[in-house]
């Protein structure tokens, strides 16, 4: 994480390139900041409360706006972010946003179906869908693993911890 701040010198050719995406982040910070301030402005100040519920959001919102503007300036001057490294992260290749989109879609599908289908089915679908999105092509094995995980966790929570997860369509079968 902390390594290689001076790295740009090594590949001088790319040093002056501006990370356009960072302007998006700066804009995001400013928007969140302004929304925080606007939201706070609508609050009523109570009695015997010299600070009131507004001051803190005002400070935070202003902070966000200032940081956002500073970040935009730094970006324009060529400040590069330092994407996080990790065991399975290969930063030498460009980002694969299609996989990320697939994963998010699978997660949202879980949100939409978990109460209807129950955890045992939705959880299994989540596992299979996520593994497939990440490039697994052993569908049969993934389905088996997913089902075992989901059904086992349903029973573990129900019997072991006394927490009844939603049975969904399998109500009465599990």
């Amino acid at each position: 994480m902390s390594v290689h701040e001076t790295a740009p010198a090594e590949h001088a050719g790319t040093r002056r390139r501006i990370d356009v995406g960072q302007f998006g982040l700066a804009a995001f910070l400013v928007v969140v900041g302004i929304y925080t301030i606007v939201d706070a402005a609508g609050l009523e100040v109570g009695f015997a409360d010299p600070v009131g519920p507004r001051v803190f959001p005002y400070v935070i919102g202003s902070g966000l706006v200032v940081v956002g503007v500073l970040l935009a300036v730094a970006t324009a001057r060529g400040s590069q972010p330092e994407p996080e490294e990790g065991e399975d992260v290969d930063l030498s290749q460009s980002a694969d946003w299609l996989t990320v989109t697939k994963l998010v879609a699978v997660l949202l599908l879980t949100v939409a179906t978990v109460n209807l289908l129950g955890w045992a089915i939705s959880g299994a679908l989540l596992f299979v869908g996520a593994a497939w999105s990440l490039g697994s092509r052993t569908l049969v094995r993934d389905v088996l693993v997913g089902l075992v995980l989901a059904v086992a966790s349903w029973y573990a929570f129900h019997v072991g911890l006394g927490i009844p997860l939603t049975p969904g369509v399998l109500d009465g079968i599990l």
Partner: protein, 511 residues
């Protein structure tokens, strides 16, 4: 030796066969999750929290302690056997540890890490037992202004110390503070930043935020940059240490402990600085020339420092109710789940629980050593799980944890939202810890601020009405002024470490 008796009392109530079973289970689960690439100790605890929901507090704490130390040890196993460390505290361990593993001394690296962690954790926990009550006695006298100053200190330190860009640190901090606003204002009962959503009125669950940012964020980030060829895992046998290794390790263990504990206890952002200092010291003191080629001192010292600072973090957490690391933040929120209010009164109101927790830490630490030395080859094999299934499993358990709390799909949705935020933060190099601390400390800060100013009738100079508060603000100012110096020191040390690394890569490519 009053504290000693209390600690023994804690040991007595913790040491039942059933509780030992929970401790063992905690250690195994913690190591299992901690070994998995991309998961650090904070995330291991957050992910496994639902498992402890229905246990009584004593058993839950014991399992917790096991999870905690297990997660920590799992993380160092990963950084020794795979070169790329998952968290900043393991960077120094990976430096020498991975070279030892490549040179066929992986077993010794794991062993010195395990024994060093055990020694540092034990000494650290005993120090916590002696310091926390004393500090809590003092802290009870502290007023809101001092508390407010302490929290400002914790936030400024973590924000500026971690990562290389203070600007990005502050971006993360303010985002976290803003997230911390969501929910009812405690004084006036008005909803803030809830977008009219009823589920948001009750404030956000820190566990959902943490799991979203850590687990989902990491999984999505990995998905965007998945390594096409599997990382190089070095096979390892059963850890052991020769007489020579013991002789070389014991001093670094103690020195690392001495570095780690104070830094963990100060609100200075965890283990990054002490592990780094320990590495530098061992390198300077070493009489041999094998530093940079797998010196055992370079693993023993930083690992001990890492664990001692992990123990030190309990001092502010138990005595002041102030979390200074992500792990402490998650643990505090778990304590609150048992209806326990953190703060200086914790040591007196829930003395039995605190002593049981401390005793559990000692037990967990011991079990870790007993269980993990023989199991190391098995853990190493976990690193070979195919990545699609591994990350699918992480997503599965993250969603399960979020869903199991309230059975509300909305919580999974929230998890996904924070996962996307975590993804964005990784893409733009925003550090995660300032955000988490902002979420948990923000509301506390606001409460203390309003408390202080209600007493003074709105006069802002009241914030400087206590001597400790003034001292802390002076410290913060000094720290900010001294920052360029620290940065230069670090850059120099990294420069001197870098050339060997390049050389090493060449060697590996040739073989």
């Amino acid at each position: 030796m009053d504290n000693f008796q209390l600690l023994m009392g804690g040991l007595e109530s913790a040491l039942t066969p059933m509780n030992l079973l929970y401790a063992a289970l905690g250690v195994l689960l913690g190591t299992f999750v901690g070994v998995l690439p991309g998961i650090g100790p904070a995330m291991a605890i957050a992910l496994l929290l639902p498992v402890t929901y229905r246990l009584e507090p004593t058993s839950a704490f014991i399992m917790f302690a096991g999870l905690y130390y297990g997660g920590m040890y799992g993380g160092s196993t990963t950084s020794i056997l795979l070169n790329t460390p998952g968290e900043s505290a393991s960077v120094m361990t990976a430096l020498e540890g991975n070279r030892m593993a490549r040179a066929g001394r992986g077993a010794q690296a794991l062993a010195t890490a395990a024994v060093g962690s055990f020694i540092a954790g034990t000494i650290g926990t005993i120090l916590v037992a002696f310091f926390s009550p004393a500090l809590a006695d003092v802290a009870v006298e502290l007023g809101a202004p001092s508390y407010f100053a302490l929290m400002v200190l914790a936030l400024v330190m973590t924000t500026t110390v971690l990562g290389t860009s203070a600007l990005r640190g502050f971006a993360a901090l303010f985002l976290g503070l803003s997230i911390g606003l969501v929910g009812l204002d405690l004084n006036t009962g008005q909803p803030r930043l809830t977008f009219g959503v009823t589920q948001l009125v009750d404030r956000l669950d820190i566990v959902v935020v943490a799991v979203g940012i850590f687990a989902l964020g990491e999984a999505l980030w990995v998905a965007a940059h998945l390594r096409r060829k599997p990382a190089h895992v070095i096979p390892v046998g059963r850890p052991w240490l020769s007489r020579d290794d013991w002789g070389r390790s014991w001093k670094p263990w103690l020195r690392g402990t001495a570095f780690g504990f104070p830094f963990g206890a100060l609100p200075a952002g965890g283990a990054e600085i002490p592990t780094f200092l320990s590495y530098l010291t061992e390198r300077k003191l070493s009489k041999r020339d094998d530093f940079g080629r797998g010196a055992i001192e370079g693993v023993a010292g930083p690992e001990a420092a890492n664990n001692a600072s992990a123990a030190g973090m309990f001092v502010p957490m138990l005595a002041l109710g102030l979390p200074v690391t992500a792990t402490a933040a998650v643990m505090l929120s778990a304590l609150q789940g048992y209806g326990i209010t953190p703060g200086p009164q914790l040591m007196t109101d829930h003395a039995d629980l605190v002593w049981t927790l401390l005793a559990s830490l000692l037990i967990g630490n011991t079990l870790l050593l007993v269980l993990n030395l023989p199991l190391a080859p098995l853990w190493a094999r976990l690193l070979r799980i195919p990545r699609p299934q591994l990350y699918a499993g992480i997503l599965f358990f993250a969603c399960l944890g979020a869903y199991a709390t309230n059975m509300d799909p909305f919580d999974i949705g929230l998890l996904v939202a924070f996962g996307l935020l975590g993804l964005m933060m990784r893409r733009f190099g925003l550090p995660v810890l300032p955000l988490i601390l902002g979420v948990i400390l923000g509301p506390l800060m606001e409460t203390k601020l309003r408390e202080a100013l209600t007493i003074s009738g709105g006069d802002y100079t009241a914030l400087l009405s206590e001597p400790l508060a003034v001292v802390i603000y002076v410290l913060i100012a000094l720290f900010i002024l001294g920052r360029p110096f620290i940065a230069r020191l670090r850059a120099r040390a990294e420069q001197s470490a870098d050339p060997d690394e390049l050389e090493d890569e060449k060697e590996l490519a040739q073989s």
